[in-house]
Amino acid sequence: MIRESYLNWLILLGLLAVPIWALTADEPFTITLATRAAILALAAVGLNIALGIGGLVSFGHAMFFGIGGYVMGILAYHAQSFTPLDLGAFSIAGTKSMPIIWLVALILSGLAAWIVGLLSLRTGGVYFIMITLAFAQMFFYFSISWSTYGGEDGLSIYVRNGFPGLNTLDPIQFFGICFVLLCLVLFLNARLQGSPFGLALNAARQVPARVETVGLDPMRIKLLAFVISGAITGLAGALFADLNRFVSPTMFSWQMSGEFIVLIIIGGVGRLMGPVVGASLFVLLEHWLGGLTEFWHIYLGTILLLIVLFARGGLIGFLTGKEGAHV
């Protein structure tokens, strides 16, 4: 049994060590895999704030992931084709600058989360799961038929966007960007969890009635958590699109939302590092099992089943010997 705080550092170091090893071993694709894991982890960290701390089981977080992706796609598309983005009353130029894209992705996905949250938080339980799914499906179908930006074919960006002072096309440098962002968000998440707001959110999940009777509004607290959560997942979406240099409606698909939830459960719900463990393991399995057999989904399914049945509290719960981050 390992103390969770030690384990957390170990996990982070592990994720950092793999690409560094790959760099020396000249295995650039391994770096790409690690980058993918870091970005998926970031998306799931976002969801974990809503789901793990706030108890808001969103089955629609692909919506924010996709919004982030399309923010990147649309801005970069206008920049690479030198056409301004026409917004009716005014038009803006596209951009290939990552920081600006990130900012727009954060703001727009946060805004979407605010609207969706406002409407969805009236419901609870399975209804909340399904109403968030419904919103994501609307985005999915809309993006499929939105021919301006490629519809189902998606949108290709030929060159990865730029970050001042870095060569983002170099796999290890792009990994560095993603890893630093992941660490920043994890740090923010850790602070948030221990902050007065985190305390209120945590209580709003467990005993909303109590939160009300001390004069706080659980709805507003959950809504804000949902906005933060959506914004982070949106940021991850922008990075994911940049990793692939491509966006498509699949980023909005319900399978994507499901995958985020799965990542969290594998790692451990509500655990700080749960999403990181889940994403790393998922990418690893996908890569390794896929090499073994055409029917690798069967084995993936079996492994997931074993995790649910025998490692309650996810892998972190299993390793630390504590079943739940809560409970």
Binding site: V126, W146, V262, V308
Partner: protein
């Protein structure tokens, strides 16, 4: 648009809704009694369709195919209930989601491994093929009328089962209070297996019936699964009546939306663009419907619990 066409489209919507009901009824029953979110329900639909196609191919009998679909799906349902699901009743909803998601992966690739990657053939039996002329001169496929009839009959049968039989009493008791039925001396684990198999059989039946007019292929269950969830959420989870109303609503919305929205946009847009915009909105229509219903009634039309 002529009246005949509209009536025909309403029939289409009802038929689609009735098939959705078969899926949704099992899903809502399983959730109502066991509190389980079963993502693998779509896989049982697929199992039914594949079993039917295999048996129809071997024997040439559509009735035998339906029986095989019912049996195979019920058996698959009972099996996963006893091997996996049973261990998860005490677990959090999220664990159930992950476990049943894993089952989807296993079923989908397992079916592909067993039957191959190409779609299977399953056809309407001769005695149900071709159109019939309805009063008013509407030409309508006989098979689709049969689907409506079968769906309604199953719905009535379910109502009878739940309202009028001993098993129904146990199911209703199970929805309200697990401890109580245990105290009454009902064998809970047998009841759960039974309900799960019943839900699975309904999904398998739907798969076989629909498979005859669609394509029997790997992955056919997932889109239907999402629709079935939409249905039970609109209707109110756990309510069979809600599932029925929800299914018809979704069926009509989807069918009529696809017809009228392009025409509606055609009033003020060029035909090609109108068709494109209309169909884009139409594909979102049921989700918009669900959202509106939930905003209006946060626990569905007939839902008791929030």
């Amino acid at each position: 648009m002529s009246t005949i066409l509209i009536i025909e489209q309403v029939l289409n919507g009802v038929q689609f809704g009735v098939m959705l009901f078969l899926m949704a009824a099992g899903l809502t029953l399983i959730f109502g009694v066991m509190g389980l979110i079963n993502l693998a329900h779509g896989s049982l639909y697929m199992v039914g369709a594949f079993a039917a196609a295999a048996v129809a191919g071997a024997t040439g009998s559509f009735l035998l195919a339906l029986v095989a679909a019912l049996a195979a799906a019920a058996a698959a349902g009972a099996l996963i209930e006893m091997v996996v699901i049973r261990r998860l009743y005490q677990a959090a909803h999220l664990d159930q989601v992950l476990a049943t998601f894993a089952l989807i992966l296993i079923f989908t690739e397992g079916t592909r491994w067993f039957f191959g990657s190409f779609p299977l053939f399953l056809d309407i039996p001769d005695y149900l093929s071709g159109p019939v002329t309805l009063p008013g001169g509407i030409q309508y496929p006989l098979y689709r009328l049969a689907l409506i009839a079968i769906g309604l009959a199953v719905g009535a049968g379910l109502w009878w089962l739940i309202e009028r039989t001993r098993l129904g009493i146990q199911i209703r008791a199970g929805e309200n209070d697990r401890e109580m039925i245990a105290a009454l001396g009902v064998d809970i684990s047998r009841l759960y297996t039974l309900v799960f198999a019943l839900g699975a059989a309904l999904a398998g039946l739907a798969g076989a019936l629909v498979g005859a007019i669609q394509s029997v292929q790997v992955g056919m269950g997932e889109p239907v699964l999402i629709l079935a969830f939409v249905v039970i959420v609109i209707g109110g989870i756990g309510s069979i009546r809600g599932a029925f109303v929800g299914a018809i609503l979704v069926g009509l919305t989807d069918t009529l939306g696809g017809i009228f929205l392009p025409g509606f946009f055609g009033l003020f847009m060029a035909p090609g663009a109108a068709s494109q915009t209309g169909s884009a909105i139409a594909s979102m229509a049921i989700y918009i419907l669900m959202t509106l219903v939930l905003i209006w009634r946060p626990s569905g039309l007939f839902g008791a619990r929030a």
